[in-house]
């Protein structure tokens, strides 16, 4: 037992970092997705790269706080320029995103390539910001992450109802006297900080997925904002953990992609299997619905049949009934039989029960009403 713990001190440190990253991403992704700022996250993470590179040049050391500050400034500058482009030209928002994203990233790459030529040994690991690397995380990095994450946490809890209303109906909110622009700015800042603390583990290229997937997954399970945020945080947490575990144990495996794949699996699962919104659930309900339509049709048809006979409970052969019914008659029959509406005294002979008769009458009346 002790050897597992001591062996894995690094792993534990890294896992804590992954957890912090996961929860923060989950929480922030909820707001990003709801405010339709999913792609802003993409822009911010790419725009952060030159900030990291320049910060390194400035400090000449891979000091995580310094790099993070550089990333935050650069990321924020990116959002500012996007707003400028949208405001002062007729270019659309997505074009502005593309411009800022690619140019900033290009700048980052240029500076990184310059750094590669420098003799400093500190520069190793700067590359890890591209795809994320669990192995270069230090305890000091984790502490920095934790501090920033706590700030984000506190602000969100404090301004919970304000952010909620801001995301839902900004116009109404400003009519009540709230300073919506400042709140908006605050939330954008939180997004920038949240992205930056995840960059070291997930990398610039893929961080944007962390700002979308947890919330997209959680949204399939709940319609309440509070639950959504908590669930998204939880999903982020698990994927952070799983991704880090995998990449720590399997050599050459980058952390970023593993975390992203984990959260993607969760998301695809949610898309399919969540109740009410899930695709599979939807299919199942559809089929159930159609089956009950078939059963009801069958019931009414049997009533029609019986009207031509003297005995309403007279039994008919299945094939005769199937001829006028729709779809697999036997399934419908089974269902009706379960509900006590039909009886089959002999193989292949089916007839109405008194209960079935009454039910059929009722259905017929309601059908007449509708038409």
């Amino acid at each position: 037992m002790t050897e597992i713990i001591s062996l894995n001190y690094t792993l534990i440190v890294v896992m804590i970092g992954a957890f912090i990253l996961g929860i923060t991403s989950g929480i922030l992704s909820s707001f990003a997705v709801l405010r339709q700022q999913s792609l802003l996250g993409d822009v911010i993470s790419h725009a952060a790269l030159p900030g990291i590179a320049f910060a390194f040049l400035f400090f000449m050391t891979k000091h995580s706080l310094g790099l993070m500050i550089g990333a935050i400034i650069s990321g924020w500058l990116g959002t500012f320029l996007v707003a400028m482009i949208v405001r002062y030209t007729t270019l659309t928002r997505d074009a502005a995103f593309g411009i800022v994203l690619s140019v900033f990233f290009g700048l980052g790459i240029v500076v990184l390539s310059y750094i590669q030529k420098l003799p400093s040994s500190e520069k190793a690991g700067l590359d890890s910001f591209l795809f994320g690397s669990a192995s270069t995380i230090l305890l000091s990095d984790i502490i920095t992450m934790a501090i920033f994450a706590s700030i984000i946490f506190i602000v969100i809890i404090l301004f919970w109802k304000e952010f909620k209303l801001l995301s839902f109906d900004r116009h109404f909110m400003s009519s009540m006297g709230f300073p919506t622009e400042r709140l908006d700015l605050m939330l954008t800042w939180l997004l920038v900080i949240g992205i930056v603390i995840g960059l070291q583990m997930v990398g610039v290229v893929l961080m944007s997925a962390m700002m979308i997937a947890p919330a997209a997954a959680a949204r399939q399970w709940t319609s309440r904002l509070g639950v959504l945020v908590i669930l998204a945080g939880f999903f982020g947490l698990i994927s952070g953990g799983i991704g880090t575990l995998f990449s720590s144990y399997i050599p050459h495996l980058s952390t970023g992609p593993m975390i992203v794949i984990s959260i993607s699996v969760i998301m695809v699962f949610s898309l399919f299997f969540a109740p009410h919104r899930g695709v599979l659930w939807h299919w199942y309900k559809q089929r159930e619905y159609q089956a009950s339509i078939r059963a009801n049709t069958m019931l009414v048809n049997m009533l029609l049949f019986s009207e031509s006979a003297t005995d309403p409970y007279h039994c008919h052969q299945l094939s005769a009934l199937a001829a006028i019914g729709r779809g697999p008659a036997i399934k419908a029959m089974k269902e009706l039989s379960n509900k006590g509406f039909v009886h089959n005294p002999k193989e292949d002979l089916w007839g109405l029960t008194p209960a079935g008769f009454n039910q059929a009458k009722r259905l017929q009346q309601s059908l007449d009403h509708d038409s």
Partner: protein, 371 residues
């Protein structure tokens, strides 16, 4: 200048040209970020095709990648039409997942061949001259040059052939449908073209920089010209210019070629943004000032008119009252008054202002005009 360098430069220009052509329609059709998505996810196609044929130079790679590109577009549409995700979230999810999967595959199975993750981001334009095409014993120059040349030609042909249809479906899709063109079909054909171009460019400049060459030169052109044909031409010009300048920067500063090219597209954009005669910041600033003065002058004249001949005239029609009533700063008020005096609209008597007959006429016309 060695032959290798010439090859690289020519390739860069071809890439830039092809991308810029695509880019024009991408930004006009608001598909800028889809291009980002495609350029990331084609990697998966390349990787999977590579695993199939184990040959980096096989044309199957291009095929596989193109298919993945189109698949990406399809998946995005699917996600969005399921109503469970919004448009931006759909885009922002699909490509990181594909990209993450490809990185993992590369990590695990591609080991240390050519296909390493940095190359994926940056391309390897520097290696181009060394991968030569030989047919029937004759060395025909670098493969990439041929590939990209064909792709560039393809772009020209596609746009040339479908010019009318592209124009119509871009600006008026409904009309296009009514006239019997097939916007959806054309859309997917165009997306296929974008995928092919992205794949070709990808090998030279990597994922994210493809985006810069597609989006930014076209955006710069957009700010400067008004006709589609002009926009296409200017876009290609800017693309090639970025490629040349970028190469120069990379050569002299010894930094990443692809990154430099991206930065240059940004520099040109900045120029267009500031100096554009129709949309530029500079122009807007001057126009704004001019209009503000004009508008304020009108308000002044109407104010004078409305209070003319009334008891309050002497108190209302004073500069000090203007400052109070219109909430103008004194300096601005003086500015307006000077302008009105210059134009011969008013006479000034210390603090009091009076309309001239010219001013009265003007005021009346303004009132009518504004109704």
């Amino acid at each position: 200048m060695s032959i290798e360098q010439i090859y690289i430069i020519i390739l860069a220009c071809l890439v830039a040209g092809a991308c810029s052509l695509c880019g024009v329609f991408l930004i006009l059709r608001r598909l800028a970020l889809i291009s980002d998505a495609i350029s990331h996810s084609v990697l998966l196609g390349i990787v999977l095709a590579f695993f199939l044929v184990q040959d980096l130079n096989s044309p199957l790679l291009i095929l596989g990648a193109t298919l993945t590109g189109v698949l990406t577009v399809y998946l995005i549409e699917l996600l969005f039409s399921s109503k469970r995700l919004k448009k931006d979230a759909s885009i922002g999810l699909v490509f990181p997942i594909f990209f993450a999967i490809s990185i993992i595959l590369i990590n695990l199975f591609a080991g240390d061949i050519h296909l390493d993750q940095d190359a994926v981001l940056l391309g390897e334009i520097a290696f181009t001259p060394f991968r030569l095409l030989s047919l029937w014993g004759v060395t025909l120059g670098p493969i990439s040059l041929w590939t990209m040349g064909i792709i560039f030609l393809l772009n020209c042909l596609f746009i040339g052939f479908f010019y009318k249809e592209l124009k119509l479906t871009t600006f008026d899709p409904h009309l296009a449908t009514m006239l019997g063109f097939f916007p959806v079909g054309l859309h997917y054909a165009f997306m296929t073209l974008v995928s092919i171009t992205a794949v070709g460019a990808f090998e030279s400049v990597g994922a994210i920089l493809v985006v810069s060459l597609m989006i930014v030169p076209a955006s710069s052109a957009y700010l400067l010209v008004n006709r589609l044909s002009h926009m296409l031409g200017l876009s290609v010009f800017f693309g090639i210019l970025s490629a040349l300048l970028g190469y120069a920067l990379a050569y002299f500063a010894d930094v990443s070629i692809a990154g430099s090219m991206a930065v240059m597209t940004g520099v040109i954009f900045l120029g267009a943004f500031i100096f554009s005669p129709s949309q530029g910041v500079l122009v807007k600033f001057f126009l704004f000032q001019k209009q503000r003065l004009l508008f304020a002058t009108h308000m002044l004249l109407i104010q004078l008119l409305e209070h003319e001949g009334t008891q309050s005239e002497n108190t209302e029609n004073t500069i000090s009252n203007l400052v109070y009533h219109m909430k103008w700063k004194l300096a601005f008020a003086n500015n307006v008054v000077s302008h009105a005096l210059e134009q011969g609209f008013i006479n000034r008597d210390n603090d009091t202002l009076r309309l001239t007959s010219l001013g009265r006429e003007k005021a009346k016309r303004v009132i009518v005009m504004d109704n």
